[in-house]
Every structure is written in C-alpha cells, then in structure tokens.
Symmetry: C2
Subunit: 141 residues, 2 copies
DNA sequence: ATAGTTGTAATCATTCCGATTACAACTATA
DNA sequence: TATAGTTGTAATCGGAATGATTACAACTAT
C-alpha cells in the first residue's frame, strides 16, 4: 500500500512552474509532457494547488503562476493540498469486539502511537521546502 | 490512501495471544471473533507472524503461542511482518520526461527526502513494543 | 477413527487510481 | 466579434489491491 503518486506529481508540477515558468507558458499540456501523465491529471493537480493558494490558474488564457515564495512552501503543504492521505494514514479494522478485553481497549492503546508515527512523517515533510528542491535541481541541471 | 488494516489486525492478534493466551486456546476462530474479521484473515495474519518468528502455530492441533518476549517485539517488527508497505511508502510517477530538466532530475532531488520521511515514521514504530501496549491494556482492562 | 484446526487456493465485490474522452466555459487577440 | 487555445469537470474504463467468503486438503490430539 502506497501513498498516491498525486503527491510526487504535484511536487513535479510545482518545480516545473517555479523553475521553467519564466521561460515557458506553463499549460497543463506542457507540464503533462514533463511529468509524463495525462493532461487532465495535471489539471486536477493544478486545481488542488490553486485551492490551497499556492498557485494561480486562469481558465481560458491558461498558464499556471506562483503565488507564494518557494521558501514558504513545504512538502507537507503540497501533500496536504493534494490530499493523498484522508485523515489517518493507518487503517484500523472496524468494529473490534467490545465484549473482548483486547477488542474493547485496542483503540485506546494503539491510536496515539499510530498518530505519533504519522506525525513524525509529516514533520519530516514540513522540514523541506520547494526552495530546497529548486536549489538542488539547479546544481543538477 | 491508507496503510492496510492488516497491520492493526496483526497488532490486535498479538495482543490477544499475549494477553489471553494463558487463559484460552488461541485459535483463528477465537481471535477472529475478537478482531471481528473472517477467520481466514486471521490465519493469513498468523502465517505472516509465524514466518517472522514471532509466534508459533501448529496445523492440526491449533492455538498460536508466543515465541519472543513482548518487550522484544516492536510495532515496526509487526508492520514489517505483515508487509503493509512493499518497499517505498511513496509512489512515484513512472517515466518523468528525461528531456525536461525537471523531469530528468526530480528523482535525485526528491527521493532522499521521501526516504527520510518514511524512515521517521518507521523509527517511531520501532520505539513502541508490544510490552508497552500490554502495559497500557492492563491499566485499561 | 474422529473432531477440531490450520494452510491455502480460488472467487467475488468493493474501492481507489490514473488514463482517457468529451465538452462546456472562458480569455486573449487578431 | 469570431477564433484558437486553454481550463474545469463529469463520465467511463481497466487494473490493482483489499478483505470476505467458500471449499477442502492436510494435520494432530484424543
């Protein structure tokens, strides 16, 4: 079980917009050919990023544009924007038997630890900005 | 996108075995009624836990038994035993365009950060043992 | 022998994903 | 204002993963 590629697609999309946006018009078709997915997938990604206030996209004229400074966008912001994880990362089996001492209390015993693990992952994502990635890209390019 | 309930089912299963195992014969049917899933699901879980050397199960006679000390079993061990995540937690879009400067380098720029995030989650899981959960259960029960 | 189990294969329905088609709505510009 | 190029979005499709369930062979204790 893996976290949707929507996330890495969104990161890729933003990198493209921030790095190549001055030189090219960033249409969904253009971005789609860099990411190598269907343009509609990019349009959906752009919608999410727009709803999160990260970029601006105008219907008709086209071309996505940055709204925030790259240093102010973390991987977590992107992860949250495309909603790869709806609430809890870990799936719990529904309806453990309340007549069993284990079934009755397993949520109380386990939930906080799972939340901690998820928080640790998300904290790590909060520590990386789009600017960090762009810097690294510029070295590599 | 969530991590399979196989994981929490396995934790529940082990808790049942370690907490109730002295009092009851822990058959797949018994455990299934505590977890509230189909017995076959539990048998599969037991198989994984057995393969990981955590418990012993004998075909025919039945009844799962602990092989390791609860303090030596971490949530990570269970998570790994039932293989909820096959390798990388994050899905990457395949085939980014190598002709695009972003597409060509995005893996190099992003992979390590994703690995770090996954490692942070797993480290957290390594910090909790079955004994911790049992202790908490005993207080609640 | 028998009853009770485990191990495992095979199906099935459901859910989620990304791909794709289609088309209405919108905007810049000629 | 007509047109070309875009975005927004609904609808559908096939594929993959999941858990539920049925079925039955293999095994073990009594």
């Amino acid at each position: 079980m893996k976290i949707t590629s929507r996330f890495t697609v969104a990161v890729h999309t933003l990198l493209a917009i921030y790095v190549l946006g001055k030189e090219y018009k960033m249409t969904s078709d253009f971005i789609a050919s860099s990411v190598n997915v269907n343009p509609v997938v990019i349009r959906r990604t752009l919608s999410s990023l727009k709803a999160a206030g990260i970029i601006d996209v105008k219907a008709g004229s086209g071309g996505a544009k940055p709204l925030k400074d790259a240093g102010d966008i973390t991987l977590y912001d992107i992860y949250a924007a495309v909603d790869c994880v709806d609430g809890n990362l870990f799936n719990f089996h529904e309806n453990p038997n309340p007549k069993c001492p284990v079934g009755k209390n397993i949520h109380a015993a386990l939930d906080s630890h799972l939340a901690d693990a998820q928080a640790a992952l998300e904290k790590e994502l909060k520590g990386v900005t789009l600017a960090d990635l762009i810097e690294r890209l510029n070295i590599l390019m």
